[in-house]
Symmetry: C4
Subunit: 379 residues, 4 copies
């Protein structure tokens, strides 16, 4: 079997396979700074709620904004299909397990009402917070300008895999340079993985990149199509592209790791690998205030021929405040995400997110057999 020219396989890593090494200096957590900045807009915490119907309603977007983060409202979900989405959300969360998929298919068969786009944006803005909305590439040119006109501050253009070049004979692919001329607010684009694609997206002029395609082995994209890159490797690659782009141009385009983050530990690892912020869904779907009422579901669910998501019971385990800032009695890392981040920064000696990018990340597989290690009080 000694064969020439055999394709070589690169080893990729996921969150469960790595850990962060402590630093040479430690810092009191209360002196760390978790601020995240995107094209001049500043956020106290680097946490963005995913544009999923089970996570972000206009009300939840308001809560996220007041908490110092950002909630992204999906412009193609129930919020823009129903005058009163609470009813249809109820029909999903109250459906029996057997009815769940058909309840989802029914819910998303209603058409998008363009007039609702502006209404929802204003609903968010009325709470005194920034408004972010998400659209798919196909509907961006139609819906994004309506949102911006109504006051949206950031536009997220998202599909499972996004590149700066999409080939289609049916529709002309979205060209980001053209979109940038059309709307005058920051545009965040994704999801992508890989150094080259991230670099190309940044070169198109957009303001942020979402990182993550099929990150987990349990991810349906990976199960169904084989496509996926574990998040640690995806984040490391895109962070390298961002640093190279900054070196070439002086412009800093943040990258946001989206997908696969379940705990504070995962969040910290994403940032230690180079993420400027994270986008999370399920951890926030557990908030009592989330519209999913203890459930979460993907936005690709209604696809009739090749569904890649279903309704998942996540449970309503606490308030958004607890999930983000504690206090908590849980030791599984699903609550007080910001406290965990500050504690991590203290242990690795990072004053801010950019310094955290310099942390050492090691491969330390998740063999769940070593005994519990008991901690002492911090310094």
């Amino acid at each position: 079997m000694s064969a020439p020219r055999i394709k070589e396989l690169r080893r990729a890593y996921g969150f469960d396979e790595v850990a962060i090494a402590p630093g040479d200096v430690t810092i009191n957590p209360d002196q760390t700074n978790t601020t995240f900045s995107l094209d001049g807009q500043n956020f106290d915490i680097p946490i963005i709620a995913s544009g999923m119907d089970a996570v972000v309603s206009p009300y939840f977007a308001g809560l996220m904004g007041k908490a110092g983060g950002l909630g992204v409202m999906n412009l193609e979900g129930v919020q823009s299909r129903y005058e009163d989405p609470s009813e249809v959300l109820d029909s999903i969360s109250k459906a029996s397990p057997e009815e769940a998929t058909s309840a989802l298919q029914k819910a998303y068969s209603a058409p998008i009402k363009e007039n609702l786009v502006g209404e929802r944006v204003k609903e968010i803005k009325a709470q005194g917070v920034r408004c972010a909305v998400s659209v798919t590439p196909a509907l961006t040119k139609k819906l994004a300008p309506l949102a911006v006109e109504a006051g949206a501050d950031l536009i997220f253009v998202q599909s499972t895999v996004t590149t700066s070049r999409h080939i289609s004979k049916s529709t002309r692919g979205l060209v980001f340079s053209e979109l940038l001329e059309l709307i005058n607010v920051p545009i965040i684009v994704g999801n992508c993985v890989g150094y080259d694609v991230a670099l190309e997206l940044m070169e198109s002029g957009i303001h942020g990149v979402l990182v993550g395609v099929g990150p987990g082995a349990a991810c349906t994209t990976r199960e169904v199509t084989g496509v996926g890159v574990p998040q640690v490797t995806a984040t490391l690659d895109c962070a390298a592209a961002r640093d190279e782009y900054t070196r070439r141009t002086g412009r800093y385009v943040p990258i946001i790791t989206d997908g696969g983050i379940r705990t504070g530990g995962d969040l910290c690892k994403a940032i230690a690998c180079g993420a400027d912020a994270v986008m999370i869904g399920s951890p926030l779907a557990r908030a009592a205030e989330a519209p999913g009422k203890g459930y979460n579901w993907g936005m690709a669910t209604p696809h009739p021929a090749l569904p890649r998501g279903t309704r998942v019971h996540v449970g309503a385990t606490g308030s958004l405040q607890q999930i983000l800032f504690g206090p908590t009695s849980r030791t599984d890392g699903t609550q007080n995400l910001v406290g965990a981040l500050a504690a991590c920064m203290g242990m690795i000696g990072a004053f801010n997110i950019r310094e955290m990018h310099r942390a050492e990340v090691i491969v330390a597989p998740s063999i769940k057999t070593e005994g519990k290690h008991f901690q002492r009080g911090g310094q």
Copy 2:
């Protein structure tokens, strides 16, 4: 333990350990081309049904052909042992778990009737599709000419491990160059793994190579004899041999990954690793139209001294149409295999199978602990 000349071990990979990285460009799935070509015969989809009695009856071969693929009928199974195989198939699928092995042993103790070979071939041809049959090397010279005479379009010569040189004192080994003079239809040979063997087989003049020996750890060949090569490595090695053979001769001999494929994701990975097509059994045994009626079993099962297979319940989960093309409500990748392939090709930017061979494949172990990742609608 610092020792010289210690045998070195090469790392091999299976489907569960790898993933496909998205490409730099994306393509609308409806613009991708899944055509597969073998010695001038073209197939719309690169999916071949295994020559197993639980999978391919003449009727099922007809369905596969009409769907654009190929069904291979086993010339040494019940179809050529019984005038009416439906009865014996029933006796297997209706046997209790305790009786299954003896039902199988009884079923295969009946002799092969040479007159049935031609009959079954004509049964398949009558449906207006190509006819492919499989034989073991020992019976090839006897049965293959009968099949070709009756109209068979392709001959699959298969054993657990096939090389171009087999040493036996009892019978003279099958010499492929001699076989090629005897029959004038394409001959596909396997199963093999390894660069050198694949190259040697191609050099013998045959028209296709089946790849796969004991691919999975659960594979009985590997459990019983220790022999086996995971399919990703096997496919990469044989694809390299094919490319080298093409470079030397200009003739393109397709390789077909056979074994270990359970989902659309596995199928996509096999092709991304260099397969031109795949041969699958169990995923198609789940079709309502399959003769196994929800069961599958191996063809080596009746071996009296060293059995390496048994009857397995796979369930009849949908129509062949659904399994190949959807629509489906399953998210485990076992249905709409062609849709999954097209979606994958879109994400990696491959217009056709040959371009898909250039996809990047990464090592991304299947640690089933990362949270579900929810997908957005496609572009």
Copy 3:
């Protein structure tokens, strides 16, 4: 994805992933010497009981000392908060699982009484053994001198992550060189991981280094904050730092692996990786004489906003004598730790701990499927 300047990840190992190779010479276990020495103080066995309330009471410290090891009493736990700690210890061990966390939080809300520090130290000394106490950096300057004045022989300064440089605006970080002038007994500092930090700590003049930060994947520090280094790698790195420090200065500063050790096998691996001694909690919390009465809990538990530990039932499985020296009928490695160490030293041909540092350690993952291997009687 061929990208330059991507952060590289180093592979780290835990106890479950390695094994010790036997030596070229074997020694009768009764000829091996397990003595451990720290700044001139000698101990018959290299085992130190963790400064945890469930493990070390003054009485248990006496037992550990008489057994030839060392028990470290926590100066910030129940022993210095309550005149009679037995009552509050009872309230924790007798609490129902639901009440455990609140029982812990209540127990640790009582203030530290400085007068009890000296009393407990004298209680230990009265048993004719050395007295070791542990403090966190924040309280070291206040409590350590009181303990030394009362007769303490060793001071352990411990926090989750300790470096020689801690940055805080609220309080001035503990400077070890200053502490060394304040008190005149050996100071052991930790926990740390990493060559550079260990070297810097040794250069500050302290007398021992505790190694271990978030060693296991199940460790809450790693789950919650992502921070942690598996113990094999942590020990190898710090041992290299010790050897380099000895080479430069001639002074030998022992390193003590603390955390993740469950069995005699783990203990042996830690020492084969370079540890001079080990600090263990849970294995000793199983002693009938331990104050936790079959339970163990971490000292960071009461942290209100980000708890990283809880009460764990470990069971009282035998006497301290059995756990350290046998005899035992258990074959899981949790009893007769010293016998296991001597047996290991015999098999690798090491007369003493320093020689054991030269053992070959191999990566041999813990795949728990190979059959039981039955042993023959020893030589």
Copy 4:
């Protein structure tokens, strides 16, 4: 953590992590030769039954010999402690799980009766087969000459870890060169691992080397003391030593892999890695004729202070004939071990054991998730 002089860890492999690649040529299994030769004594099959009381009685040794292999009788077990061992064997196999350990301890507290040594040897010889016995180093000089005098053909000197140099102040270590002058039958020595130790043992003049120390993660030696080397690596290293020794001296000293072999697959892997034969216990303890009556236990069990073995239920699953030669209806590789070996040799194209040493062995971890692969009939 960039640190110099950190101890490096070599990766070691066990049976579950490797597979054998098929060869470039295949051979009919009936043309393969499984003969094994040791210092001029020839055996039809390379399978040796372990010197364990649950496996080899004089009667079972007779069966193994007639089957073409070898059964080793333990000279320090019940056979030489009791006039009629059947009673005490019954007391062990019929003890309840709770009583098993004390039944073992009681059984082995009876003294060894020197007069029984010769009696048992004669009992074996009377069946017309070769007689092999095992002793520990400490009793070798006393018991081995008695056995040889009575007609023993081979002496196995075994302890957990054997080197050519054992240091002890209580007793003078066994010197193999002296032993060779004392007795004039082949001496097989073990267990060892590692190139250097194997080479040194061969240089002492002995006639065979047993390979294996704590091979599995579940092995109690490894759990208790951390010591152990997975069998694939141990076998590869010792095979390299044998080849080097042969190169230097022209004398061929076979190595026998002992421990961790559960199936025909494991057996084949051991030989493909370089073993000349295998020693197995549990697979044979399952024979209806084995004295353990469905149970197995280690010979170190009675050790009072640090037991490393216990009674294990293995079940009596078939006759010795079935286990060695089939026929079988089991597909888990535990029966027809010789048939499996011949099938393996056929697939890798090896006419004999020495040619099998040249097979390619690959790392192919045992991820038990790929679907069953169904086999076709052999060539």
